[in-house]
Assembly symmetry: none
Homo-oligomer: 520 residues x 2
């Protein structure tokens, strides 16, 4: 059975803390969802802001190809004909095939928050739906606080959805607005609602109890034909249900359901990362199905088993959602992790090199290196051991100093290095010692390698490895860098945090220069 | 009904990508879980590394008060008596009241991965459990790949848990090792398993389908009495089930269950953040129940309604889990923790001081300070605001430099400070800039305050707060110090890591001096 996927990333998702889409962002995401064949895409709330109104004009001029576009709004204002309500006008001006209307299911919210009588609330639902239908729109009705009200006042809850159904809504969406409903309640209420109205049901869940995916699946099993949610679970508080997980489960885990056009779930990983990119948010590594860690194996026993039979510790083939297996190198792992990583980098053929790599990694891990989050350093190390690494520059010396007096802090770094036969001495100030060193190092290098100007450090992490020796302990620095195309991570370890940072910094820049040489 | 909470943050959680606990980290977390009354705490896998073995020795010397400590291991090696297996010796040497043994449920894993016959696998389970029971241990049996095997070969799966039960295991834990099982399958299999053995059942879920919480609750509803998981859902791939969400649901949402000692769920937010801090990981804002956004309201309609009636868009009272409502967009976190902390320090009586403290903390949190894991800095700040702080020394200036040439790194710090009317100028070398500064500072102070010689820094953590600016971002440094009697933690924040470290260092030494004065 085909389950409709209704995306509200651009409307409810944008309510999430730290989420803010520009008009162009919204259009990019809508086009991408359309390419993947999402059934419905809710584009925004045209009455609430001009950006959303403009979005609909842009899409009216160049419509979506596969998905139905929805404009979102509320029931008409109290004591007013729909035709006179500016909200209705905005919705019609959006020129979408579908309009989604949210209404009050809760008697408490109708009378106490909105301040209208229970009868007027029913009239608002009914007249709004009927008006939009008469204007040629497909109308989806979102029943706010549906489950909470079904538990406290089932009679009135039923009246509200009957009003919407009778007025011509094509679908009634049961909203778990506060995210507090449990799967067994979702199942029971969905079954009861499905015999209350003669219109198909949809489900709209929030993740406040970490049950949004289970709740959406429970509603589908109980008869709902549409799931509303957002890509990556963006949304207010703990987020809306993550449609990625919903689709992964419906298409690959549960029996008898289909989403999108079947094979399109192979693009879920790409979609997830695309939306994070456009929203300028960090990936969530542990995200089910599509996270960078979702098929990453660290424990030695697991790695050993996965090498023998991939399904040993994987519930699906990572490729089914466009993801990939990763083997992490770490203190917990046996040699099998390193072998797997080396195989990925096509090292396994050269047995003798492989042994050297293994020995070196084991030795370095004992000294505190960690390559699981530093594949760029790993690659440089392997090239070095293979005799295939030619450093672009040679450090003579560096020096960095930090001094503080009367609340003023001054940081200065000098770097002296050689590129071929030419010697460069560079000085720079910075906000901190690593920033100053980075500036001095790149200041020297950019004269010969202009492309280092296009990269920058995007994250910097420090970890004391054996904490018991206090500040004299060994320190591991992880640096993440990026240019216009890629991001990469490098590692440095030393007793001295500056020296450890320097190691990671040099690896990062060498990796960039190798990359630009076309060296793999 | 009381549901047992079994924490494996320190073992299975440590398998998570980017998770790496020092010995001290592990002890801190175990003590905190013990304070909250977790039923079982799995401390590690003593055979796998010396750090875990050392952890158990430390806890044997000073045992937990409320929780039962568990050592984790595998069934005995093939063709060997348990008494001859070095793994068993390690487990007994750990001197824990409980031993948790994982064994193969899967016929495939027994024969193809482990390479033993199906009969030998049963003997390995049975003899291992019986041996540890005969040595006076409570034995919990973890049945790996339990659900997958129950679906593919229910007869053999049943034989494995019967072998464990018959040999004296006190509890059989059904593991969804690959995280691919659906709630309806968990429910069915749990019911079937509960009539197969006469021993109580536990559940151990992973979150690969974003269903770990629903799965754990489904098992409890079907009769499981123990839930295994980790704080914040740390763990391999997509993580283990998050015990925070499990406990929130069992204690506050579902009927008829109790966890911990009832009221202890009020500390879940504090616990969650504490574990993130110790693990040096960022909080997850959208985390159910305890995330900083979990009760944050952004949509205008929601804010309006929440102002009228708090429960409008909240499924529980945030205070029930120690969290708080946030209306305006702000970076503030953990006000309730501040209040709790202030109450702990007997500040709550002085309303006016309390207000000043709150205002100052809010301001400092906006700048990146965090006092949840830095109580010594908090105490100094409060004393300062109460006019009850008299610094023991006054810094004139410091300077630290790091230089590297021909593989030799030289670090030198100078500190000039005044104690009363006397001025001290001191120089020291060190393994790193903070180590050198610490040495110079204490070198000056020890002349007047000999007791500073009895303290040392025991841990040092650095976190970039707004990572996107790379090395120029703001940096938070947390320093843990100890003397013969206590350990305490201080915080410093600055764009410059050296200046941030200096702030934490000075707080640490002032705290020590105040403490020795008998100052509270």
């Amino acid at each position: 059975m085909h389950i409709q996927i209704y995306d509200t990333t651009l409307r409810d998702g944008a309510q999430g803390e730290g989420v803010s889409f520009s008009l162009e962002d919204k259009i990019l995401i809508a086009r991408r969802l359309d390419e993947l064949g999402f059934d419905y895409i809710e584009g925004g709330y045209p009455l609430s802001n001009p950006k959303d109104a403009e979005f609909f004009q842009r899409l009216a001029a160049e419509p979506l190809k596969r998905s139905k576009l929805c404009a979102f709004g509320m029931t008409r204002r109290r004591g007013m004909k729909p035709a006179d309500d500016p909200g209705m006008k905005c919705l019609l001006d959006a020129r979408t095939p579908v309009v989604t209307i949210v209404g009050k299911t809760s008697d408490f919210h109708a009378t106490e928050i909105l301040g209208v009588s229970l009868e007027e609330n029913l009239a608002m639902i009914s007249e709004t739906v009927a008006y939009l239908v008469s204007e040629g729109r497909e109308v989806i009705y979102d029943a706010e606080h549906f489950f909470d009200t079904w538990k406290s006042n089932p009679k009135y809850a039923a009246e509200t959805i009957r009003a919407a159904a009778k007025a011509g809504a094509s679908l009634i969406v049961m909203c778990d607005t506060n995210g507090g409903t449990l799967p067994e309640e979702i199942e029971r209420v969905t079954k009861e609602a499905s015999v209350t109205v003669n219109v198909p049901l949809g489900i709209h869940c929030h993740n406040d109890c970490e049950l949004a995916v289970a709740n959406s699946l429970a509603a589908v099993d109980a008869g709902a034909v549409q799931v509303q949610g957002t890509v990556n679970g963006l949304g207010e508080r703990c987020g809306n249900v993550d449609l990625i997980s919903v689709m992964g489960n419906l298409a690959l885990k549960k029996k008898g359901y289909e989403v999108l056009a079947g094979d399109d779930v192979q693009h879920l990983t790409e979609l997830s990362r695309y939306v994070y990119e456009v929203a300028n948010m960090n990936f969530r590594n542990g995200q089910p199905f599509v996270g960078a860690s979702a098929f990453a194996h660290k424990g030695g026993m697991h790695v050993h088993a996965v090498a023998k039979a991939a399904h040993s510790y994987e519930h699906i083939d990572p490729a089914a959602v466009g993801n990939e297996r990763r083997i992490l190198v770490s203190e917990l792992s046996g040699r099998s992790n390193i072998i797997a990583l080396a195989t990925k980098h096509n090292l396994a053929q050269d047995k003798e090199l492989m042994t050297r790599v293994l020995d070196e990694i084991v030795d370095r891990e004992n000294r505190g290196y960690q390559y699981e989050a530093a594949e760029a350093s790993f690659e440089l190390l392997v090239r070095q051991l293979a005799g295939d690494f030619h450093p672009h520059f040679k450090l003579d010396r560096y020096r960095v100093s930090v001094g503080s007096q009367s609340n003023e802090t001054v940081t200065e770094a000098t770097v002296k290095l050689a590129i071929g036969d030419d010697v460069f001495l560079e000085v720079a100030e910075g906000d901190g010692p690593v920033n100053a060193l980075d500036a001095a190092l790149r200041g020297a290098l950019v004269k010969r390698f202009p492309s280092v100007a296009t990269m920058h450090l995007s994250d910097y992490k420090v970890r004391v490895i054996n904490g018991e020796a206090g500040t004299a302990a060994r320190v591991r620095v992880i640096i993440e860098s990026q240019d216009d195309e890629d991001s990469w991570t490098t590692v440095g370890v030393h007793e001295n945090v500056i020296e450890a940072s320097w190691g990671a910094l040099v690896d990062s820049i060498e990796y960039k220069l190798c990359k630009d040489d076309g060296g793999k």
